[in-house]
Amino acid sequence: MTFPIIPMADWVNSFVDWLMLTFSAFFDGISFVINVVLSGIESLLLWCPWWIVILAFGLLAWRVARWRVAIFVVLGFFFMGTLGVWDRAMETLALIATAVLISVAFAIPMGIWAARSNTVEKTLRPILDAMQTMPAFVYLIPAIMFFGIGKVPGVIATVIFAMPPGVRLTNLGIRQVPVDVVEAGKAFGSTSRQLLFKIQIPMAIPTIMAGVNQTIMMALSMAVIGAIIGAGGLGYEVYHGISRIDVGRGFIGGISIVIIAMILDRLTGAMGKPRRRKALAE
């Protein structure tokens, strides 16, 4: 007596085949757009001399945060250069930037939508839960299926994995705006669009930025996993280190990822805080 076998694998395969045939133009389009954005950012970062990139990030940090953060950013980048992984780091940065841009472009509107409708929120919640609890490796499978091997599927897998906190925190941020402030907005005759853009979103910015910050961290954690399917970058160093049992190389890749994570965390953290002039009288 043997188990009756459900031919699940066959079904899935033929469904995917059908999808790829029917929507090939669609997947090609996505692939093309991601490629353009990704290679644009990557070539810019690699084309610029390293000291210009460092200077630019240092200036950005100085503008949005305090000078101590700026110094940290400059030293961090310089250190990665001295480890000999500059090009790899720029590849990772480009991949993260692309994935985060796409994630945020979807996450914020979805979060807003969820905040304005309980039905949408209820529908989205289990989907987001599933997206976040699923082991990150699982996302590699559909990514490979639809987009093959390389950087584009790496971006796709990263986007899926990194998007949920952006949606959640945007939704939360808008829902947390105090009732009396929303009431005030309505009482003075705001349209719902004015209410959204003049009151709800500005007041939700710190929370939304926390979501963006989370998205970036999730994306970075995908950097190593993405390397398995050929996303390159620092993840490749780590992956290479594992497969060749080259601990030193793996360590350099790992520490560089940590440095990038810290830099991006400080930068986005500072962007979430409202900047204001000193009080006139204190």
Binding site: P178, E183, A184, G185, A187, M203, R277
Partner: protein, 401 residues
């Protein structure tokens, strides 16, 4: 001054929160209690059959404890809360007939609102908070900034326009809230416990300033409070609410002297009536008066008959001329004078009818002669004796006797 036009009128207004609110109204009219209805239907009756009229230019106070439905009632007026049944008219126009667009227009032009917890936008500077109502109307930047500065000056916040709300004290934040409401030049101010979140000292100061401001602006104000003293101080009329219903509507003096039921009586028990009651409320008919043309002999015999030591003297138009003392009258009779000229003391203690009786105490202490109450034309309305003053001072429990 205020005319008698009805600015806002509520007619049989109901607001019920919960599933199938329409059905619940019939339960209410059948006399089921709120608790009963909540247990059986899960609905909360917030406003129950409220009707009221607010004349133009008047401060109308709605007073009740938390949960009495007063804030819900206020929000029904600008439809932040949609009434379940009944109608609200502003300038005779039914609010329920407005579509979304027109409702927004009415809110922008006619209704200013002030909130208990200020409801300021923390990410905007004071001036950007104040211009909010003008900004959503699409007014140009220079004009709205100019109006905002003027309004900030009016509420005493000049120089603070660049600050952020959290850099201001509570009292100042509420001034910003008030300025934001006033800047749109609304006919109507809806004030939802605007001073309740402030310290007692600041609260009193804000009340006084509000009274001053209102004298100049003459807005129609609906003012919500849970504080009876505040209600009595600010309101021309007060509606007392309990469990979503209005129990009594009346002037502050009505509420204190003629509470409609035990609940209101309980409320006003500890009210210092000396602040609320006015001379006109406790005035008594003088037992006897003298007129200018009376002969001293006649006056003397009246005094003896009534056993009084003094009489107020009025002229033919009932205007108060002064007071005569028995000794002086007797002396005039002895002298053979034919009228009261020369013996009238021109300066008895006099008060206007709208003076709080508390302020009569020093006069009553200074002399045992009753205090004369006169109207604006100096006509004598009556007198306030020491006894009646004493019996009305203190809490209303004493006044009830």
């Amino acid at each position: 001054m205020s005319s008698n036009n009805i600015k806002i009128s509520c007619q049989n207004l109901w607001k019920i929160f919960g599933p199938h609110p329409e059905k619940v109204i019939s339960f209410c009219t059948d006399g089921l209690s709120k608790e009963n209805i909540f247990q059986n239907t899960g609905c909360i009756v917030a406003v129950s059959d409220v009707s009221l009229e607010v004349p133009e230019g008047e401060v109308f106070v709605i007073m009740g404890l938390s949960g009495s439905g007063k804030s819900t009632l206020l929000r029904c007026i600008n439809r932040l809360v949609e009434p379940t049944q009944g109608e609200i008219f502003i300038d005779g126009e039914p609010m329920s007939s407005l579509n979304e667009k027109k409702l927004i227009q009415v809110r922008r032009k006619k209704l200013g609102m002030v909130f208990q917890h200020f409801g300021l936008l923390p990410h905007r500077r004071v001036i950007d908070n104040v211009v909010y109502g003008l900004e959503v109307q699409g007014m140009d930047k220079a004009e709205r900034a100019e109006r905002a500065l003027k309004t900030l000056d009016l509420v005493g916040l000049s120089g603070w326009e660049e600050s952020y709300p959290d850099q201001l004290s509570g009292g100042m934040q509420q001034r910003v809230g008030l300025a934001r409401a006033l800047v749109i030049e609304p006919d109507i101010l809806l004030m939802d416990e605007p001073f309740s979140a402030l310290d007692p000292l600041i609260r009193r100061q804000m009340q006084d300033e509000f009274i001053k401001l209102q004298k100049v602006l003459g807005k129609t104000v609906i003012f919500i409070t849970h504080d009876l003293i505040e209600a009595l101080k600010l309101g021309k009329h007060i509606a007392v609410m309990k469990d979503g219903q209005i129990i009594q509507i009346g002037t502050p003096q009505d509420i204190v002297t003629k509470p409609a039921d035990e609940y209101v009586a309980d409320f006003v028990r500890d009210v210092p009536t000396g602040k609320v009651l006015q001379a006109g409320n406790i005035v008594e008919e003088p037992s006897q008066l003298a007129t200018m043309d009376q002969e001293p002999e006649v006056v003397l015999s009246t005094m003896e008959a009534k056993a009084v030591e003094n009489l107020f003297v009025v002229d033919s138009e009932h205007k108060l001329k002064g007071l005569v003392m028995m000794a002086d009258v007797a002396e005039a009779v002895h002298r053979g004078a034919t009228n009261l000229n020369g013996i009238i003391k021109a300066d008895p203690a006099v008060t206007e009818a709208d003076r709080p009786i508390e302020q009569l105490i020093p006069m009553a202490v200074a002399s045992d002669i009753p205090i004369a109450v006169v109207d604006q034309q100096k006509r004598l309305l009556g007198v306030v004796s020491r006894v009646s003053l004493l019996s009305h001072i203190g809490t209303s429990e004493v006044a009830d006797r």
